[in-house]
């Protein structure tokens, strides 16, 4: 790795002072698993690394009657093993457990997982693409390798968001607590993520100097009916080709409340509001799922090698609503 100065602040305010001081030359490190790839490949060359692992106030899970607050520096393993998260917000535990490998979950943090950068290999290999500030997309060409890329809301850049916990947090209606130079800011999980239409160089709203300090999950969806599924090439380590997360409350024969999100389809995890609206009040059956799936992929555009993602997303949404048993593939 190229040389840099390493800072290990012990409080959020100290970290902010450092970010203030170094601005664009600073690089924030949480677990480091995304960061070190950039540094080892010498594509990013920050002058100062601000390592957040020494900040105790950003670690751990706090529970209250209003829900849980997870420090951004809490590791995925800690999230997965936390008894309250498992019992009431199992959707998140399930999603976090499917991320990467055991060692990465031991080190990678929930804040890092939702803030990681795109995995498009043209971008990661340092090609001067749109996302890197250039003027071309190498993936969206007739011969570009784009099997893993976007089917929805692509604009110039076709990279997707790689996070597994992000759709689960959106389905759980989580709030993200940010610390900006202007003070604390609390936003909906959904609004943390941005597409190329807002800023093509970032997947989230953090600007230099901003920090994601914690994630709050309200008790609104505690113990609801959850569904999470991640589809990937290998059973371990791989990023999702697509994943789906849903939280449903079914009373009697009808879906009373529902939140549903997919990731791997666009540059940001997508909350499927139209699907939610259409499914509400209907029975949680494969017929409703079928309808929801078709609705979910409306407007989807396949690239050269990722057409499979459209039926895949349709079926994942169908399963998320109608369950797996009834949702067997019929050709």
């Amino acid at each position: 790795m190229p040389a840099f100065e390493l800072f290990q602040p012990s409080s959020i305010s100290d970290a902010q002072k450092l970010l203030e001081q170094y601005r664009e030359d600073a690089w924030v490190v949480a677990g480091g698993l995304d960061s070190f790839d950039w540094l080892k490949d010498r594509i990013k060359r920050p002058k100062a690394l601000v390592d957040l692992s020494g900040i105790a106030e950003m670690k751990g899970v706090r529970t209250s009657s209003e829900g849980v607050e997870i420090g951004a520096m809490t590791t995925l393993t800690e999230v997965v093993r936390h008894p309250v998260v498992r019992e009431k917000y199992g959707l998140l535990a399930e999603a976090a457990e499917l991320a990467a490998s055991p060692q990465i979950r031991n080190q990678g943090t929930i804040g890092g997982n939702v803030s990681q950068d795109a995995r498009c290999w043209y971008y990661r290999a340092g090609w001067p693409c749109y996302r890197a500030g250039g003027n071309v997309c190498y993936a969206d060409t007739p011969t570009g390798r784009n099997r893993e890329h976007a089917i929805l809301h692509a604009e110039r850049c076709v990279a997707v968001n790689p996070s597994d916990s992000a759709p689960a947090l959106i389905a759980l209606d989580a709030r993200f607590v940010l610390r900006t130079p202007k003070g604390e800011r609390i936003i909906d999980a959904e609004d943390y993520f941005i597409g190329p239409d807002v800023d093509i160089t970032r997947l989230h709203i953090l600007k230099p100097g901003d920090l994601l300090t914690s994630i709050r999950i309200p008790s609104t969806w505690a113990g609801a009916q959850f569904y999470f599924e991640k589809v990937r090439d290998r059973n371990v380590w791989d990023f999702a080709l697509l994943n789906v997360a849903s939280a449903m409350q079914v009373s009697g024969n009808a879906i009373e409340r529902i939140r549903l999100a997919v990731n791997g389809a666009a540059a940001r995890p997508l909350r499927l509001r139209a699907v939610e609206d259409a499914a509400r009040g209907k029975p949680a059956t494969s017929a409703t799922g079928e309808m929801a799936g078709k609705l979910a992929v409306q407007g989807a555009v396949a690239l050269q090698f990722n057409a499979y993602k459209i039926p895949l997303m349709r079926n994942l949404v169908k399963r998320a609503i109608g369950g797996v048993e009834e949702a067997k593939w019929v050709s």
Partner: protein, 211 residues
């Protein structure tokens, strides 16, 4: 009458085993680093950074003074500064698991940990598993019992991942253990035998702990 010279030669593998040789190298390194400790006043302190490059690490139960660059990974420090070459560098990208060590009993890819960030943690590498007298750790013994690896480049990583996993689930099923060590790759594709060997290791550990 036995030739005394031959007798000495015959004892050599025990007297100067590879392990002891490495230990000797490490002791030499410790002497060098303690020498630099004496002259640490000459080190220029960073104004607000992490300060000294000369830090103390707790490695395999020993406190080791070592000169570490800010951008240095733990795998690099272990192998090239402390002489603990049992930790292997495969991909250097947190993808293969060959560099797995335990930090406070939890498996980590040491290729993706900055050494400066583990100053307050206990590092355990493969060299710290066996007893001082050379008795192998139960997992290591399990591998010998079952001949679980082919080229074994990935072995130390697998052993450390298993050691860490068994601390949370000491009596795993085969599929639980497979899931627990799923962050390690074997290019020989010897997974089935590796799993058999590590299951034997887990069994050995339970036997050892019950005694």
């Amino acid at each position: 009458m036995p030739n005394p010279t031959l007798k000495i030669l015959g004892d050599t593998p025990k007297a100067v085993s590879r392990r002891r040789f490495i230990k000797g190298v490490i002791a030499g390194g410790a002497a060098v680093s303690s020498a630099s400790y004496l002259f640490r006043n000459s080190v220029v302190h960073g104004v607000s950074g992490t300060g000294d490059r000369l830090i103390t690490l707790n490695v395999n139960g020993q406190l080791r003074r070592v000169d570490v660059m800010k951008q240095e990974t733990l795998a690099w420090t272990l192998r090239y500064k402390l002489g603990l070459t049992g930790t292997k560098l495969g991909c250097d990208r947190a993808e293969c698991g060959a560099c797995t060590v335990l930090l406070d009993d939890v498996p980590h890819y040491s290729c993706s940990v900055l050494t400066h960030t583990v100053r307050n943690e206990k590092v355990l590498s493969i060299e710290g598993l066996a007893n001082e007298d050379g008795t192998l750790h139960p997992i290591q013994q399990g591998i010998i019992d079952e001949q679980g690896f082919q080229c074994a480049f990935c072995m130390s990583g697998f052993v450390m991942a298993t050691e860490g996993f068994l601390k949370t689930i000491p009596d795993p099923t085969r599929s639980e253990l497979a899931h627990g060590i799923s962050g390690n790759l074997c290019r020989c594709q010897d997974y089935d035998k590796i799993l058999t060997a590590l299951m034997r290791g887990a069994e050995n550990m339970r036997t050892a702990n019950h005694v």
